[in-house]
């Protein structure tokens, strides 16, 4: 599968996520869009990993580990995403508790 | 030192003089009356006095005497001294035109619902009650069902069809 396909698919997904971040006001949705962007990147990383693997195979190297970094990177991104979500959602919940809204426009105020 | 009806009567008359009256003993239980203005004072005295110590409100209810003009409605308190194991009955009377009696909720938390029930049944208005509204009957009810002039059955009811009961 040509890598371009994956490249443009990821780009499109990333852009969709970005547009979501820019246009939506609900903090949770924005957060979800960030996850979407991360996933777009993940997809690309995996694709690149397989690209390198194929390259290594074609170059005749018996390297089963070629491109493994890409997938490990995805793994770490997932870890970070999970950590980020737990903290981020905690913040959103706190914010909701205090100002009873998850509209980011109300987040402009730093205090009541 | 055991508490007897006589001591209670004596202490009460010492404190309130002529205002408490109609002392009698009915089936072993002391009962007396006080004007409705001082009902809280009497209850407080009975509650706080170290010797008397009537800290338990057993029962609170109303009675309707339509024949006694000016004092148609009575509020009856049954108090209990658990330590000495002695009970007494205490009544205040009020007229039906303006049935205002001071609430005992400040003293006894248990009086809350009993007063609401009494209000529900007799329309006695407990002044100072935190939440005086009907408790058992529907809020829309516009009379006080346990007063003697109201019949047991709601005469205006349409949900009863005598034919269904073999009386048609």
């Amino acid at each position: 599968m040509p890598i371009n396909y994956y490249l443009f698919l990821s780009l499109a997904l990333f852009t969709i996520g970005m547009v979501g971040v820019l246009t939506r006001r609900n903090a949770i949705i924005i957060f979800m869009c960030i996850e979407l962007m991360l996933n777009a990147v993940n997809l690309l990383l995996v694709a690149f990993s397989k690209m390198h693997y194929q390259a290594a195979l074609e170059a005749g190297q018996l390297a089963t580990q070629a491109g493994v970094e890409g997938q490990l990177f995805v793994f770490f991104i997932m870890v970070v995403a999970a950590a980020e979500v737990s903290v981020g959602l905690a913040i959103i919940v706190m914010m909701y508790r205090n100002i009873h809204s998850v509209d980011i426009n109300f987040l402009n105020r730093l205090k009541h | 030192m055991s508490l007897t009806n006589e001591i209670i009567q004596q202490r009460l008359t010492e404190k309130f003089g002529e205002q408490v009256s109609e002392f009698s003993t009915s089936y072993g239980m002391l009962q007396f009356e006080a004007p409705k203005e001082i009902n809280l004072k009497v209850l407080n005295f009975l509650y706080d006095d170290a010797q008397l110590g009537f800290i338990f409100l057993t029962d609170l209810t109303g009675v309707h005497y339509p024949d006694q003009k000016g004092r148609e409605l009575a509020v009856v308190y049954h108090l209990h001294n658990l330590k000495e194991n002695i009970r007494l009955r205490f009544k205040v009377f009020t007229g039906v035109d303006q049935p205002d009696v001071y609430t005992a909720t400040g003293l006894f938390s248990s009086a809350n619902w009993m007063e609401r029930e009494t209000y529900d049944f007799y329309g006695i208005n407990f002044v100072g009650h935190p939440n005086l509204k009907r408790i058992l009957n529907v809020d829309e009810m516009d009379y006080f069902p346990l007063r003697k002039e109201f019949p047991l059955e709601d005469q205006t009811r349409i949900d009863k069809d005598d034919e269904m009961f073999g009386r048609g």
């Binding site: - | 800290i55 009856v76 619902w113």
Partner: protein, 406 residues
């Protein structure tokens, strides 16, 4: 940006959820409504509405002759209706000045303690059901069935027994009743033990009930708690001991008391009271068996003015027929006066405040219904607790809607 600073009208909703428990919620045995304000699972406030089965007992009682009021007291606390019946009869006897023979007293004690067992048994096993364990409930319910069979032998009905008459019982206990009683005394302790094994030291159950719905002795007294719920809070107030009626002074029993007044204490107190009741029944049964000869046939006081004559006499003797008519038509003399009599009902002090003006029916009859009085403490009991705690607390209080709403 300034346009965003001000929150739009109504955008701050309350963070709490309003949960309407009842009137058809499974945990509200009988019917009551609890409007709970929840913050997550925590209860912020509770508002109780009752009166969903208000039946105007007190108004009805003003129309009914004394003898017919048993049909009302039956339906007060229907889990232990004989207790209410006996209480009512004793109130009438107090008013009429009747003293009952010892054998009647002891028979009454048997019946009353059976009723108490039936009452506590339902409460405790329902607590198990509300905690999610249904099976224990059905184990002990079989023995309640046995109690009902005994009732059926005594009076002909199971639940709303209409048992007893002013001055005694309507008929002597037959042998089958005593046999069944023996069977009950024999088998029930095992079942109760088994029931306790299932719950008492089960950590899940203990966790669910310990520290749930606790109340201090002072607050409990102030709220007018009586019965097991008060005893669980540590006050050993028991009408059977404080104002012995029906020869309770002749029996040896202890008053189990708790310390914290929480649901687990209430459960334990009820459990212990069942054991005590069993012991009382055994004692009473022994005393009943000690009567021999003509004494063993005594089942009512000798008060021809108030107790219906024997049927055979009614058919044959003129005098008996006259009494019969007088009693049924309510033409016998009833003294005027005010009586307050209390018995230890299933839930606590069940009081009857009877004002008689000498008429056939009471001038005013007020029931001191323990449920009604202590249920108002519910909000205080559950505030800050969790939703599940409210359920357990509610069932541990043994709320009987029939008694509460009268």
């Amino acid at each position: 940006m300034s346009e965003h600073i001000k929150l739009p009208e109504g955008s701050i909703e309350k963070t709490t959820t309003t949960l309407n428990l009842g009137p058809t919620h499974p945990a509200t045995h009988g019917v009551m409504q609890n409007i709970l304000e929840l913050d997550g699972e925590r209860i912020v406030s509770a508002d109780q509405t009752i009166g969903y089965i208000h039946r105007a007992f007190e108004k009805l009682a003003e129309r009914r002759p004394l003898a017919q009021i048993t049909t009302l007291t039956d339906r007060l606390n229907y889990c232990s209706s004989p207790l209410n019946n006996m209480g009512w009869h004793m109130t009438c006897e107090k008013l009429l000045g009747i003293t009952t023979p010892k054998r009647v007293d002891y028979l009454r004690v048997i019946v009353m303690e059976l009723a108490r067992i039936a009452d506590h048994l339902i409460c405790n096993s329902i607590m198990g059901v509300d905690a999610g364990a249904y099976t224990g409930f059905l184990y002990v319910m079989q023995y309640r069935e046995l109690i009902y069979e005994i009732y059926e032998e005594i009076c002909g009905a199971r639940l709303t027994t209409n048992m007893g008459r002013i001055g005694g019982f309507e008929r002597n206990f037959n042998d089958i009743a005593f046999q069944k009683l023996e069977k009950f005394l024999d088998e029930y302790p095992k079942a109760l033990k088994e029931f306790e094994n299932m719950f008492q030291r089960n950590r899940i159950f203990m966790d669910r009930t310990m520290g749930v719905g606790g109340i201090s002795a002072e607050r409990a007294l102030n709220y007018g708690f009586t019965g097991p719920n008060l005893r669980a809070a540590g006050v050993d107030y028991d009408v059977r001991v404080h104002a012995p009626y029906s020869s309770y002074q002749d029996f040896e029993f202890i008053i189990p008391v708790g310390s914290t007044g929480d649901s687990y204490d209430r459960w334990l107190v009820r459990e212990q009271e069942m054991w005590q009741s069993l012991s009382i029944i055994r004692q009473a049964y022994q005393k009943v068996q000690a009567f021999t000869g003509a004494e063993a046939e005594v089942y009512h006081a000798d008060v021809p003015e108030y107790y219906l004559p024997a049927k055979q006499d009614v058919y044959t003797k003129m005098e008996a027929l006259i009494y019969h008519f007088k009693i049924i038509m309510g033409e016998t003399d009833i003294p005027a006066g005010e009586v307050y009599h209390a018995v230890e009902g299933g839930n606590g002090e069940l009081g009857f405040y009877l004002i008689s003006d000498g008429g056939r029916a009471p001038y005013r009859l007020h029931f001191r219904r323990p449920c009604f009085i202590y249920y108002q403490a519910f909000e205080e009991l559950v505030k800050g607790a969790m939703l599940s705690d409210a359920i357990i607390t509610m069932s541990s209080l043994n709320l009987i809607a029939g008694e509460m709403d009268a």
